[in-house]
């Protein structure tokens, strides 16, 4: 397992460094690009634990779609090359508060679930990493209700976005 430990260490270090750069860099384009590295690191971690399907989905959705939308938005709204736009700090207090709250919730959830549990590094006998077929079987039988709920939620968000965009266009 030592190779995996080394790989995890390297990936995690790169991710943490990039994540810090996301929030410290002054160039919003660079922030988005550092975010690409962080998200690619997440995908790499998924691959490292054998979750192929999740890892590839991470690449397709987050890097292929979400980040592209970010970049698209930045390019549409900030095409002033000469101007050094300084980020403002007007909403510093609520931002810090939100970040701290999120951190507290995440730490709480992780400690609550995994405190004192040590996962076995080797898979128990007879258990293999999940294949895509197994993932889809479970998704469409055991988890069909949450799956459909998420689909409807996404559809509602989609329609909502279109409605809002069209209303502004009409003036």
């Amino acid at each position: 397992m030592i190779a995996e430990h080394v790989a995890f260490g390297i990936i995690a270090a790169v991710m943490v460094a990039s994540a810090l750069r996301v929030v410290t860099t002054r160039d919003i384009m660079h922030a988005a690009l550092y975010l690409v590295i962080v998200l690619a690191g997440v995908a790499a971690l998924f691959l490292l634990v054998g979750a192929e399907f999740t890892g590839i989905t991470q690449v397709l959705i987050y890097i292929g779609a979400v980040i592209v939308l970010f970049l698209f938005g930045i390019m549409l709204t900030r095409s002033d090359f000469d101007q050094d736009t300084e980020p403002d700090h007007k909403r510093k207090f609520p931002a810090v508060l939100t970040a701290l709250l999120l951190l507290a919730v995440m730490i709480g959830a992780l400690v609550d679930r995994f405190e004192g549990i040590k996962l076995d590094a080797n898979l128990p006998d007879g258990l293999t990493p999940q294949t895509t077929a197994q993932v889809s079987d479970e998704l469409f039988s055991q988890y069909i209700v949450p799956f459909e709920a998420v689909s409807v939620l996404l559809l509602a968000a989609l329609i909502g976005a279109i409605v809002i965009a069209r209303r502004e266009e009409g003036g």
Binding site: M29, E52, F53, I56, L60, V68, L71, F72, M75, D82
Partner: protein, 350 residues
């Protein structure tokens, strides 16, 4: 038997894991420029010229076959120019991102029963995911050039690639439903051992049942490659060269290799999914000889698909931006959804 054991069998030595990995990467690193050269010479220089009643390059080598090598050498000598206001790091990295995206697609393309770099359970899904990485490179190039034409080109490219990503993925779904797997290797065997109404004389190449998917896939590939008739992101007569406008020398060469390397990779994916890949419907699929014949069979099929792709390129005039979006959202996506439903129904009935 895996590719590693074949290799160690041929060399009669035990090849360690890292060495096979390096050899495999070297093979891909050689395949991409070769593929770009072959497609560039055969189609862009020769077939296009013949279609336009001219000869094309004739001087460098027999029938001008060394023209692209000469052009490549020329690119390498050129000065590596950075625009004054360019974002230097991002500008320099952008062509590499595009090339890496191309490189990663080749990893899963099977060329024989054992001759594949990595046989992944998620196969085609992986290929489509990594191919979408090139958009990031194109947007980086468009932004970092600090040029209005590059910026417009980058924006157009992003809008186009997002719109055509969907039909591309949905077109593949029909094949995946029919084969019952995402694994490209298993899709090949499913076609070679398949039967049409109980007759297995020619296997069951999915182009026969998934011709709608094949058509949508080819149109979407055309848009993904930003080739005419979907070349608004690089349209010379409108925005000079789009996101490529500031690039010179070997960085421009990277974009060129990325474009034709990706064209080859997509043609290979189409050949694997719709034309039966490296296999023939006769003979023992596990036979070792397929590792040597397979790549040749695949190459023939790839050239056939590439001929179609480039035929479109040389024939149709450029679309307008709104026509492009309308084609994707109002025609290709509904059609591919319909294709999925019909395929699903047949899969359950038969």
């Amino acid at each position: 038997m895996t590719a590693a054991t074949v290799m160690s069998g041929l060399l009669a030595v035990e090849v360690p894991y890292w060495a096979t990995a390096i050899i495999k990467m070297g093979v891909i690193a050689l395949v991409i420029p070769t593929a770009a050269l072959v497609l560039g010479y055969v189609f862009l220089m020769k077939i296009m010229s013949f279609m336009q009643s001219r000869l094309g390059p004739m001087e460098a080598g027999p029938y001008g076959s060394l023209q692209l090598l000469a052009d490549g050498l020329k690119f390498l000598q050129k000065e590596d120019i950075f625009p004054e206001k360019a974002d230097r790091t991002v500008f320099a990295l952008a062509p590499l991102v595009v090339l890496v995206s191309t490189f990663l697609i080749y990893v899963v393309i099977p060329t024989g029963p054992d001759a594949v770099v990595a046989q992944l359970d998620v196969g085609i899904f992986y290929a489509l995911a990594v191919s979408s990485l090139s958009v990031v490179g194109i947007l980086m190039a468009g932004w970092a050039s600090a040029n209005k034409y590059a910026l417009i080109g980058g924006l157009r490219a992003a809008g186009q690639l997002i719109a055509y990503e969907l039909p591309l993925v949905l077109a593949v779904m029909g094949v995946v439903i029919q084969a019952g797997t995402l694994d490209l290797q298993k899709i090949v065997t499913a076609q070679a051992t398949g039967e049409i109404f109980g007759w297995g004389g020619i296997g069951n190449p999915y182009i026969l049942t998934q011709f709608v998917g094949f058509f949508i896939f080819l149109v979407a590939v055309q848009a993904e490659l930003t080739q005419p008739p979907f070349d608004m992101p690089v349209a010379e007569s409108e925005i000079v060269g789009g996101y490529q406008v500031e690039y010179t020398g070997f960085r421009f060469l990277f974009f060129f290799m990325g474009e034709f390397g990706t064209a080859f990779a997509f043609a290979a994916l189409a050949a694997v999914m719709f034309l039966g890949g490296w296999a023939l419907p006769w003979g023992d699929l596990e036979h070792w000889a397929f590792n040597i014949v397979g790549p040749v069979i695949l190459l023939v099929k790839v050239m056939a698909v590439a001929a179609l792709i480039f035929w479109f390129r040389f024939t149709y005039p450029r679309l307008r931006e709104d026509q492009l979006q309308r084609l994707a959202w109002k025609f290709l996506i509904p059609l591919s959804l319909l294709n999925i439903v019909v395929t699903g129904v047949f899969k359950v009935i038969l």
